[in-house]
Amino acid sequence: MPLLNTLPDYVLTTKTDELINWMRKSSLWYMLFGLACCAIELMHTGGPRADIERFGATPRASARQSDLMIIAGTLTLKMALRTRLLYDQMPDPKYIISMGSCSNCGGLFQLAYSVCDGVDKVLPVDVYVPGCPPRPEALTEGLIKLQEKIMSERWLARERTAEL
Protein backbone atom coordinates (compact mmCIF):
# COMPACT_ATOMS: atom_id res chain seq x y z
CA MET A 1 0.00 0.00 0.00
CA PRO A 2 1.45 3.41 -0.90
CA LEU A 3 2.41 5.67 1.91
CA LEU A 4 0.05 8.42 0.71
CA ASN A 5 -3.09 6.49 1.48
CA THR A 6 -2.10 5.77 5.07
CA LEU A 7 -1.87 9.44 5.93
CA PRO A 8 -4.80 11.65 6.83
CA ASP A 9 -6.13 14.10 4.28
CA TYR A 10 -4.46 17.13 5.72
CA VAL A 11 -0.96 15.73 5.34
CA LEU A 12 0.88 16.42 2.11
CA THR A 13 4.10 14.77 1.10
CA THR A 14 6.81 16.55 -0.82
CA LYS A 15 10.54 16.80 -1.11
CA THR A 16 12.30 19.07 1.37
CA ASP A 17 14.10 20.96 -1.38
CA GLU A 18 10.88 21.63 -3.18
CA LEU A 19 9.18 22.77 0.00
CA ILE A 20 12.03 25.15 0.79
CA ASN A 21 12.12 26.44 -2.76
CA TRP A 22 8.37 26.84 -2.88
CA MET A 23 8.41 28.86 0.31
CA ARG A 24 11.26 31.01 -0.93
CA LYS A 25 9.82 31.67 -4.35
CA SER A 26 6.46 32.55 -2.82
CA SER A 27 7.86 35.36 -0.71
CA LEU A 28 10.37 37.13 -2.88
CA TRP A 29 10.72 40.46 -1.18
CA TYR A 30 12.30 42.88 -3.57
CA MET A 31 14.28 45.91 -2.66
CA LEU A 32 13.02 49.28 -3.78
CA PHE A 33 15.82 50.24 -6.09
CA GLY A 34 14.64 52.62 -8.77
CA LEU A 35 17.50 54.34 -10.54
CA ALA A 36 15.78 55.94 -13.53
CA CYS A 37 12.62 55.85 -15.62
CA CYS A 38 12.31 52.04 -15.32
CA ALA A 39 11.38 52.69 -11.70
CA ILE A 40 8.05 54.09 -12.91
CA GLU A 41 7.30 50.78 -14.58
CA LEU A 42 8.50 48.98 -11.47
CA MET A 43 5.96 50.94 -9.44
CA HIS A 44 3.28 50.00 -11.94
CA THR A 45 4.28 46.39 -11.64
CA GLY A 46 3.76 46.58 -7.91
CA GLY A 47 0.51 48.46 -8.41
CA PRO A 48 -3.00 47.03 -8.68
CA ARG A 49 -3.05 46.26 -12.41
CA ALA A 50 0.00 44.04 -12.83
CA ASP A 51 0.17 43.36 -9.08
CA ILE A 52 3.20 41.15 -8.55
CA GLU A 53 2.13 40.80 -4.96
CA ARG A 54 0.03 37.96 -6.35
CA PHE A 55 3.31 36.07 -6.63
CA GLY A 56 4.41 36.98 -3.14
CA ALA A 57 6.73 39.77 -4.19
CA THR A 58 6.42 42.78 -1.99
CA PRO A 59 8.65 45.85 -1.82
CA ARG A 60 10.98 46.38 1.12
CA ALA A 61 12.78 49.60 1.88
CA SER A 62 15.86 47.94 3.34
CA ALA A 63 18.46 45.75 1.71
CA ARG A 64 18.69 43.69 4.87
CA GLN A 65 15.10 42.51 4.52
CA SER A 66 15.24 41.74 0.80
CA ASP A 67 15.78 38.59 -1.22
CA LEU A 68 15.68 40.20 -4.60
CA MET A 69 17.13 43.35 -6.08
CA ILE A 70 15.37 44.67 -9.15
CA ILE A 71 17.81 47.06 -10.74
CA ALA A 72 15.47 49.42 -12.52
CA GLY A 73 17.30 52.04 -14.52
CA THR A 74 20.65 53.40 -15.58
CA LEU A 75 23.46 52.37 -13.31
CA THR A 76 26.11 55.05 -13.16
CA LEU A 77 29.67 54.30 -12.12
CA LYS A 78 29.16 56.41 -9.03
CA MET A 79 26.14 54.34 -8.07
CA ALA A 80 27.79 51.04 -9.02
CA LEU A 81 29.97 50.96 -5.91
CA ARG A 82 26.98 51.77 -3.69
CA THR A 83 24.96 49.09 -5.43
CA ARG A 84 27.64 46.57 -4.66
CA LEU A 85 27.53 47.68 -1.02
CA LEU A 86 23.75 47.25 -0.92
CA TYR A 87 24.05 43.85 -2.55
CA ASP A 88 26.55 42.81 0.10
CA GLN A 89 24.08 43.87 2.78
CA MET A 90 21.39 41.52 1.48
CA PRO A 91 21.11 38.14 3.23
CA ASP A 92 21.75 34.99 1.20
CA PRO A 93 20.23 33.54 -0.91
CA LYS A 94 19.82 36.66 -2.99
CA TYR A 95 18.86 37.31 -6.58
CA ILE A 96 19.11 40.13 -9.07
CA ILE A 97 16.77 41.04 -11.89
CA SER A 98 18.30 43.45 -14.35
CA MET A 99 15.42 45.50 -15.68
CA GLY A 100 15.63 47.39 -18.95
CA SER A 101 18.28 48.07 -21.57
CA CYS A 102 20.30 50.44 -19.39
CA SER A 103 20.98 47.96 -16.65
CA ASN A 104 21.39 45.09 -19.14
CA CYS A 105 24.17 46.68 -21.17
CA GLY A 106 24.20 50.44 -20.62
CA GLY A 107 21.51 50.86 -23.27
CA LEU A 108 21.21 54.27 -24.82
CA PHE A 109 23.94 55.62 -22.58
CA GLN A 110 26.51 52.89 -23.22
CA LEU A 111 29.10 55.29 -24.63
CA ALA A 112 28.59 57.90 -21.93
CA TYR A 113 31.48 58.57 -19.60
CA SER A 114 29.47 58.20 -16.42
CA VAL A 115 27.44 55.05 -17.10
CA CYS A 116 28.32 51.51 -16.09
CA ASP A 117 27.88 49.31 -19.19
CA GLY A 118 25.66 46.71 -17.63
CA VAL A 119 24.96 45.58 -14.09
CA ASP A 120 26.74 42.29 -14.79
CA LYS A 121 30.03 44.20 -14.72
CA VAL A 122 29.45 44.65 -10.99
CA LEU A 123 27.02 41.99 -9.76
CA PRO A 124 25.81 38.52 -10.77
CA VAL A 125 22.50 38.87 -12.61
CA ASP A 126 19.89 36.09 -12.61
CA VAL A 127 17.29 37.38 -15.04
CA TYR A 128 17.63 40.04 -17.73
CA VAL A 129 14.41 41.79 -18.74
CA PRO A 130 14.79 43.57 -22.09
CA GLY A 131 12.88 46.70 -23.01
CA CYS A 132 13.18 50.43 -22.75
CA PRO A 133 11.46 50.45 -20.37
CA PRO A 134 9.97 46.93 -20.08
CA ARG A 135 6.23 46.84 -19.62
CA PRO A 136 4.89 45.59 -16.26
CA GLU A 137 3.95 42.33 -17.99
CA ALA A 138 7.57 41.84 -19.02
CA LEU A 139 8.83 42.39 -15.50
CA THR A 140 6.19 40.00 -14.19
CA GLU A 141 7.44 37.44 -16.70
CA GLY A 142 10.96 38.06 -15.44
CA LEU A 143 9.82 37.42 -11.88
CA ILE A 144 8.12 34.18 -12.93
CA LYS A 145 11.32 33.12 -14.71
CA LEU A 146 13.22 33.79 -11.51
CA GLN A 147 10.70 31.70 -9.57
CA GLU A 148 11.28 28.86 -12.03
CA LYS A 149 14.99 29.21 -11.43
CA ILE A 150 14.50 29.11 -7.67
CA MET A 151 12.36 25.97 -7.98
CA SER A 152 15.20 24.23 -9.81
CA GLU A 153 17.69 24.80 -6.98
CA ARG A 154 18.80 21.87 -4.85
CA TRP A 155 19.98 22.69 -1.35
CA LEU A 156 20.16 19.40 0.51
CA ALA A 157 21.29 17.41 -2.49
CA ARG A 158 24.13 19.79 -3.03
CA GLU A 159 25.61 19.02 0.37
CA ARG A 160 25.34 15.30 -0.31
CA THR A 161 27.21 15.56 -3.58
CA ALA A 162 29.90 17.50 -1.82
CA GLU A 163 30.51 14.55 0.48
CA LEU A 164 30.74 12.15 -2.41
Binding site: L77, K78, Y113, S114, C116, D117, G118, K121, V122
Partner: protein
Protein backbone atom coordinates in the same frame (compact mmCIF):
# COMPACT_ATOMS: atom_id res chain seq x y z
CA UNK B 1 14.58 96.04 -22.80
CA UNK B 2 16.17 94.19 -25.69
CA UNK B 3 19.40 92.31 -25.06
CA UNK B 4 21.43 94.73 -27.21
CA UNK B 5 20.10 97.69 -25.22
CA UNK B 6 21.16 95.95 -22.04
CA UNK B 7 24.69 95.54 -23.40
CA UNK B 8 24.75 99.22 -24.41
CA UNK B 9 23.82 100.15 -20.87
CA UNK B 10 26.53 97.87 -19.51
CA UNK B 11 29.05 99.49 -21.84
CA UNK B 12 28.14 102.93 -20.48
CA UNK B 13 28.47 101.76 -16.91
CA UNK B 14 31.56 99.59 -17.40
CA UNK B 15 33.59 100.92 -20.30
CA UNK B 16 36.37 98.56 -21.56
CA UNK B 17 34.98 95.64 -19.60
CA UNK B 18 32.89 94.33 -22.49
CA UNK B 19 35.17 93.02 -25.19
CA UNK B 20 32.66 91.76 -27.72
CA UNK B 21 28.95 91.86 -28.49
CA UNK B 22 27.57 89.56 -31.13
CA UNK B 23 25.67 86.43 -32.00
CA UNK B 24 22.40 85.84 -33.80
CA UNK B 25 19.53 85.42 -33.08
CA UNK B 26 20.38 85.67 -29.38
CA UNK B 27 22.98 88.34 -28.81
CA UNK B 28 25.63 87.77 -26.18
CA UNK B 29 28.30 89.93 -24.57
CA UNK B 30 31.82 88.73 -23.82
CA UNK B 31 33.10 90.30 -20.65
CA UNK B 32 36.39 90.54 -18.81
CA UNK B 33 36.74 87.83 -16.16
CA UNK B 34 37.99 90.31 -13.56
CA UNK B 35 34.89 92.49 -13.92
CA UNK B 36 32.39 89.62 -13.70
CA UNK B 37 31.27 90.08 -10.12
CA UNK B 38 30.78 93.86 -10.30
CA UNK B 39 28.93 93.50 -13.56
CA UNK B 40 26.66 90.76 -12.25
CA UNK B 41 25.89 92.71 -9.10
CA UNK B 42 25.00 95.74 -11.20
CA UNK B 43 22.77 93.63 -13.46
CA UNK B 44 20.92 92.31 -10.48
CA UNK B 45 20.58 95.48 -8.44
CA UNK B 46 19.98 98.13 -11.08
CA UNK B 47 16.19 98.77 -11.04
CA UNK B 48 15.99 99.08 -14.82
CA UNK B 49 17.72 95.74 -15.38
CA UNK B 50 16.79 93.72 -12.26
CA UNK B 51 18.18 90.42 -13.48
CA UNK B 52 16.83 88.42 -10.55
CA UNK B 53 17.13 84.97 -12.12
CA UNK B 54 20.17 83.07 -13.30
CA UNK B 55 18.33 80.73 -15.68
CA UNK B 56 21.38 78.77 -16.65
CA UNK B 57 25.08 78.75 -16.11
CA UNK B 58 27.15 76.44 -18.21
CA UNK B 59 30.61 75.92 -19.60
CA UNK B 60 32.05 75.22 -23.04
CA UNK B 61 35.41 73.85 -24.13
CA UNK B 62 36.51 75.54 -27.37
CA UNK B 63 39.85 73.65 -27.53
CA UNK B 64 41.94 76.85 -27.42
CA UNK B 65 40.07 78.31 -24.47
CA UNK B 66 37.15 77.55 -22.19
CA UNK B 67 34.11 79.74 -21.67
CA UNK B 68 31.39 80.12 -19.09
CA UNK B 69 27.96 81.19 -20.29
CA UNK B 70 25.49 82.99 -18.03
CA UNK B 71 21.84 83.18 -19.08
CA UNK B 72 20.10 85.87 -17.06
CA UNK B 73 16.42 86.67 -16.86
CA UNK B 74 14.38 89.36 -15.19
CA UNK B 75 10.96 88.38 -13.90
CA UNK B 76 9.85 91.97 -13.36
CA UNK B 77 10.88 93.29 -16.80
CA UNK B 78 10.55 90.02 -18.73
CA UNK B 79 13.86 90.50 -20.51
CA UNK B 80 16.97 88.39 -20.69
CA UNK B 81 20.61 88.56 -21.65
CA UNK B 82 23.58 86.28 -22.14
CA UNK B 83 27.07 86.86 -20.76
CA UNK B 84 30.16 84.94 -21.72
CA UNK B 85 33.51 84.81 -19.99
CA UNK B 86 36.53 83.40 -21.76
CA UNK B 87 39.26 81.74 -19.71
CA UNK B 88 42.59 80.13 -20.40
CA UNK B 89 42.50 76.38 -20.75
CA UNK B 90 45.17 75.61 -18.15
CA UNK B 91 43.87 75.79 -14.57
CA UNK B 92 40.96 78.10 -15.32
CA UNK B 93 39.52 79.89 -12.31
CA UNK B 94 36.94 82.60 -11.82
CA UNK B 95 34.98 84.17 -8.98
CA UNK B 96 31.70 82.59 -8.01
CA UNK B 97 28.35 84.33 -8.55
CA UNK B 98 26.81 82.18 -5.83
CA UNK B 99 26.31 85.11 -3.46
CA UNK B 100 24.40 87.02 -6.17
CA UNK B 101 22.25 84.12 -7.36
CA UNK B 102 22.14 81.19 -4.93
CA UNK B 103 21.09 78.82 -7.69
CA UNK B 104 24.58 79.09 -9.13
CA UNK B 105 25.85 76.73 -6.44
CA UNK B 106 25.06 73.43 -8.15
CA UNK B 107 25.56 74.76 -11.66
CA UNK B 108 29.08 75.86 -10.80
CA UNK B 109 29.76 72.51 -9.19
CA UNK B 110 28.66 70.86 -12.43
CA UNK B 111 30.95 73.09 -14.50
CA UNK B 112 33.80 72.28 -12.12
CA UNK B 113 33.04 68.58 -12.36
CA UNK B 114 32.76 68.34 -16.14
CA UNK B 115 35.18 71.03 -17.32
CA UNK B 116 37.54 71.59 -14.43
CA UNK B 117 36.91 75.30 -13.98
CA UNK B 118 37.43 76.31 -10.37
CA UNK B 119 35.17 78.93 -8.80
CA UNK B 120 36.95 80.98 -6.18
CA UNK B 121 34.91 81.69 -3.08
CA UNK B 122 32.42 78.92 -3.77
CA UNK B 123 30.97 77.51 -0.55
CA UNK B 124 31.13 73.84 -1.59
CA UNK B 125 33.52 73.24 -4.47
CA UNK B 126 33.14 69.49 -4.93
CA UNK B 127 32.22 67.24 -7.84
CA UNK B 128 28.48 66.82 -8.25
CA UNK B 129 27.91 64.15 -10.92
CA UNK B 130 31.04 62.05 -11.15
CA UNK B 131 32.56 60.11 -8.24
CA UNK B 132 34.94 62.01 -5.98
CA UNK B 133 37.93 59.95 -7.11
CA UNK B 134 37.20 60.22 -10.83
CA UNK B 135 40.25 61.16 -12.91
CA UNK B 136 39.89 64.18 -15.18
CA UNK B 137 36.95 66.21 -16.39
CA UNK B 138 34.76 64.36 -18.91
CA UNK B 139 33.52 67.24 -21.10
CA UNK B 140 37.02 68.43 -21.89
CA UNK B 141 37.86 67.69 -25.49
CA UNK B 142 41.10 65.95 -24.53
CA UNK B 143 39.47 63.72 -21.91
CA UNK B 144 40.26 60.03 -22.32
CA UNK B 145 37.91 57.66 -20.57
CA UNK B 146 39.76 55.25 -18.26
CA UNK B 147 39.37 51.59 -19.16
CA UNK B 148 38.18 50.64 -15.72
CA UNK B 149 36.94 52.22 -12.54
CA UNK B 150 37.46 50.31 -9.26
CA UNK B 151 37.67 47.06 -11.20
CA UNK B 152 34.54 47.81 -13.22
CA UNK B 153 35.31 47.69 -16.92
CA UNK B 154 33.95 50.69 -18.81
CA UNK B 155 34.01 48.90 -22.16
CA UNK B 156 31.41 46.44 -23.40
CA UNK B 157 32.05 44.36 -26.47
CA UNK B 158 29.39 44.52 -29.12
CA UNK B 159 27.64 41.15 -29.41
CA UNK B 160 27.24 41.72 -33.15
CA UNK B 161 30.98 42.02 -33.73
CA UNK B 162 31.54 38.89 -31.70
CA UNK B 163 29.13 36.94 -33.91
CA UNK B 164 31.05 38.14 -36.96
CA UNK B 165 34.32 36.92 -35.54
CA UNK B 166 32.86 33.47 -34.99
CA UNK B 167 32.20 33.18 -38.71
Amino acid sequence: MEALQIYERLKQRFPDKITEVGGKPDAFAVIEPAALLDLCRFLREDPDLAMDCLSNETGVDYKDHVAIVYHLFSYSHRHSCVLKVKLARENPAIGTVEEIWHGANWMEREIFDLLGITFEGHSDMRRILMPEDWPGHPLRKDFVEPLEYHGISTVRESPIIRLDQKK
